[in-house]
């Protein structure tokens, strides 16, 4: 005799939802990468986010370009916006550039040896950041709103995200500075979501969290 054990309704519902999520790939861990140029404010933004939602910073920031020279990861950040929860890992990557001249670091008071060391580490960091494009499932492209946004690094990052169908939000950072222009970024990338913020002062971060929930959830 075969005994049929009936699965309770709520378990059945969870079971079906899990299968559905697996089918549409929604059970995959959300890994949001922070990409952009050196000194665009990626780590400042990562710190603002982890301070807001976990109460601690993720990494060191400085005026000298290429301060972040390896990928930092903060697991399990949970933000809640509009009654929607977004659970993800933050992947803070080194700034992507096509050139690194150690002489530029000398202007910031580093010794020649320190500058050369920083340049060497920065090249490795850029390679690591590019490799992470294979692993992230969403991206915040951080753009310094005081600079020309139409650079090869930004174009390459966006082209790769589009080709890999990775959703992204363009963060127009440093809007607290008088020379910043978020409109310039919107005008050159009209087809993408652009959110103007000041990561340093936490200005407009609510809009960013809202955009993240809309785009990545």
């Amino acid at each position: 005799m075969v005994r049929v054990i009936k699965m309770p309704k709520f378990l059945k519902r969870n079971f079906l939802r899990n299968i559905f999520n697996k089918l549409i790939g929604k059970d995959k861990k959300l890994k949001i990468g922070l990409y952009g140029h050196p000194n665009s404010g990626k780590t400042t933004l990562a710190n603002t986010m982890t301070n807001d939602w976990l109460g601690k910073p993720i990494g060191l920031i400085s005026e000298i370009p290429h301060e972040t020279r390896r990928v930092y990861r903060q697991e399990r950040v949970k933000i809640e916006y509009d009654d929607i929860e977004l659970d993800f890992d933050i992947v803070d990557t080194p700034g992507i550039a096509t050139k690194i001249d150690y002489k530029n670091f000398l202007e910031f008071g580093l010794s020649e040896q320190e500058a050369k060391e920083r340049a060497k580490e920065a090249t490795k960091g850029i390679i690591e950041a590019i490799k992470w494009l294979d692993d992230v499932t969403g991206v915040l492209l951080v753009v310094d709103a005081t600079q020309d946004p139409l650079t090869q690094a930004n174009i390459t990052i966006m082209g790769n995200l589009e080709a890999r169908k990775i959703p992204f939000v363009i963060v127009a950072n440093k809007i607290d500075l008088p020379e910043a222009s978020a409109e310039r970024i919107t005008s050159v990338f009209p087809q993408h979501t652009v959110v103007p913020i000041s990561a340093l002062h936490g200005e407009n971060t609510g809009d960013l969290y809202q955009a993240m929930v809309d785009k990545f959830n």
Partner: protein, 127 residues
């Protein structure tokens, strides 16, 4: 001619036809080899996003701090019609790649690119 030994700038113009049969790796090796010699490359068309990322990666591996500090890339885009002219997309018309320490000032506007090449103590301008 090895342009790194002189105050001259060697420019290579490469047609899209010439690169049609090349693999991504061949294209990238050719670009990096030429730029490391101090040459400026003008390529008809552009690289794919994956090739651009690979080019940056390869450049980073080749940077030797003292002699080669990386590359600069600029593109000029053109309108590309599709679906019988119903939708317009941008396509890369020309790509200019050169050594970062040579390509000094670049001004870019729609349909116009201006560059000052820095050759040691002398300078050369091209538009």
């Amino acid at each position: 001619m090895d342009s790194s030994d002189t105050n001259a700038l060697k420019m290579d113009f490469v047609s899209s036809e010439a690169l049609k049969e090349s693999s991504s790796m061949e294209k990238i090796s050719m670009i990096v080899d030429k730029v490391k010699e101090g040459d400026l490359l003008v390529i008809e068309g552009g690289l794919t996003p994956t090739e651009e990322a690979e080019l940056i990666e390869t450049t980073m591996r080749e940077i030797d701090i003292e002699n080669f500090v990386g590359i600069d890339i600029y593109t000029l885009e053109k309108d590309k019609s599709s679906f019988f002219g119903l939708s317009k997309k941008k396509a890369i018309g020309i790509t200019i790649i050169g050594p970062a320490n040579v390509m000094k000032t670049v001004k870019k506007r729609e349909n116009f690119l201006s560059m000052i090449a820095n050759l040691g103590d002398s300078g050369a301008s091209m538009h």
